[in-house]
């Protein structure tokens, strides 16, 4: 016992250092994959409030830019309205721009919750956005986030009035994406170097991939609807020793200047999840 006390006495500085370092490292390695609380993120009320004050000052710098973006989005949406389409008995007979609306009733599949980015980083290895909406507005962990130009990320953590979004500029973002023309599926990753470029993994190299073909969300996990723009194929390179392409993705959104975003709420996610649970587990080949 006396030896033990002497030991502590002798190495007390190192022990205290190890204790603090242990706390910090355990926070780092557990919270970045699964956040247990919102207190150490910008979703907490103190830092959220500070970010809101900062955003109240700086948001006006990009005002005309974001107005223009919203106007373009409105124009695009307005053109898709039923009122602006000719009826099916148009003069030219069959026309590709006609939308058939023979089924009167639709079930709402996705809901969009509007929000504003109040804080963002893009120089770190894992970058997060802070939004000014939280559980009070219906935001939950795991929901998808988009802007008018494309996919932003997935909600990582949310408090009552703020939420933290893991952006496409993070290591383990893993959004299911697909190349629009050929239908090749894969997963989105980020290597940490360039904020305008990401990677798509899992694309087998037995098929030709056209440069600058569009990459869109696959919609398989129920986080995003199918067909949301992610980016374009900027470069393909064979991975040595594997029958796969290393596809470089040029993001369609400039993550540095994102302001207005929408959080996607999939109303039928539970149904899809329950249905997928019924599938019997596949026997693995290694055993």
């Amino acid at each position: 016992m006396r030896n033990f006390l002497a030991f502590i006495q002798r190495f007390r500085v190192i022990l205290f250092f190890a204790l603090l370092q242990g706390i910090v490292l355990s926070i780092y390695f557990t919270f970045s994959t699964f956040p247990r609380s919102q207190y150490l993120t910008t979703a907490s009320s103190v830092s959220g409030t500070i970010m809101t004050v900062r955003n109240d000052i700086t948001k006006h710098f990009r005002l005309s830019d974001s107005n223009k973006k919203l106007q373009f989005e409105n124009q695009w949406l307005r053109e898709r309205l039923k009122e602006n389409k000719l009826s099916e008995l148009a003069e030219n007979g069959f026309d590709s721009t006609i939308i058939k609306t023979d089924k009167e009733h639709y079930t709402q599949h996705f809901e969009y919750i509007p929000g504003t980015v109040i804080n963002s980083t893009f120089t770190k290895r894992n970058n997060y956005f802070t939004l000014n909406i939280g559980t009070a507005q219906g935001v939950k962990r795991g929901m998808g986030v988009i802007s008018d130009k494309g996919v932003i990320g997935v909600v990582h953590n949310s408090s009552e009035h703020f939420s933290v979004v893991k952006s496409c500029l993070a290591k383990e973002i893993n959004i299911a994406v697909v190349i629009e023309n050929s239908g090749e599926p894969g997963f989105l990753k980020w290597d940490g170097h360039n904020a305008r470029k990401g990677n798509m993994t899992g694309v087998s190299n037995d098929r030709e991939i056209k440069l600058w073909s569009k990459i869109v969300t696959r919609g398989s996990a129920g986080i995003f609807p199918r067909g949301l723009s992610v980016g374009k194929v900027a470069k393909t390179q064979a991975i040595e020793g594997q029958p796969l392409w290393d596809v470089t993705v040029q993001y369609s959104e400039n993550y540095r200047s994102v302001q207005c975003v929408y959080v996607i709420n999939n109303l039928l996610k539970k149904e899809q999840h329950e249905l997928e649970l019924d599938v019997p587990p596949q026997p693995t080949e290694d055993e």
Binding site: V13, F16, F17, L20, Q21, I23, V24, L25, I27, Y28, F31, S32, Y39, L40, T41, T42, S44, V46, S47, I50, M51, R54, N119, T121, F122, T123, K124, R125, N126, Y128, T130, V164, G192, H193, A195, R256
Partner: protein, 171 residues
């Protein structure tokens, strides 16, 4: 009382400088400017090591909470605080630290600051990027990040000292 107030003000200044300004500076090539190790350098020489470690733990976690890094800044700063006495002994001036009132650039001179602050920042940046990347095959990128960020952080630390710390009157 006045001295404690000064340290608290410095503490808050470093949080806000990092979170509101420097986190949004992007220079390319993975450069990230971090100046808060200067807080550890500027604390009094005779400070209790436990207080020093606790303060750096708090400062690091506060910065982490506002930049979503989950303990990265805190970990690097604790390492710096732990090594500070060793580095100070290593770079001690000829007469030791007994006559020294503060460890800023006006009192200690450029060459001491260059060595001590340089070492502190180098250890801090290297540890920070090592934990952040956490991959051995990206060691070249790690060195690139450290070597690009270090001069920028260092220059800003020097400028801050020249601009905001008053020169003591020559006695």
């Amino acid at each position: 009382m006045n001295r404690i107030f000064r340290q608290v003000a410095l503490f808050i200044f470093f949080i806000f400088a990092q979170v509101l300004v420097l986190n949004n500076v992007e220079l390319g090539g993975g450069t990230q400017i971090m100046i808060y190790p200067l807080f550890v350098l500027l604390l009094p020489v005779g400070i209790n090591i436990f207080l020093l470690l606790s303060l750096s733990f708090l400062l690091g976690l506060s910065i982490d909470a506002m930049s979503n890094t989950y303990g990265l800044h805190a970990s690097a700063l604790i390492v710096v605080a732990f090594l500070r006495p060793i580095i100070f002994r290593f770079t001690a001036p000829r007469d030791g630290y007994e006559q020294v009132s503060a460890t800023n650039i006006h009192v200690m001179g450029i060459s001491w600051t260059l060595r001590t602050l340089g070492l502190l920042l180098l250890i801090h940046h290297f540890w920070f990027f090592l934990l952040e990347l956490f991959k051995l095959d990206e060691i070249l990128y790690l060195i690139q990040k450290t070597m690009l960020s270090l001069p920028m952080s260092f220059v800003i630390c020097l400028l801050l000292q020249y601009l905001f710390i008053k020169k003591p009157k020559a006695s």
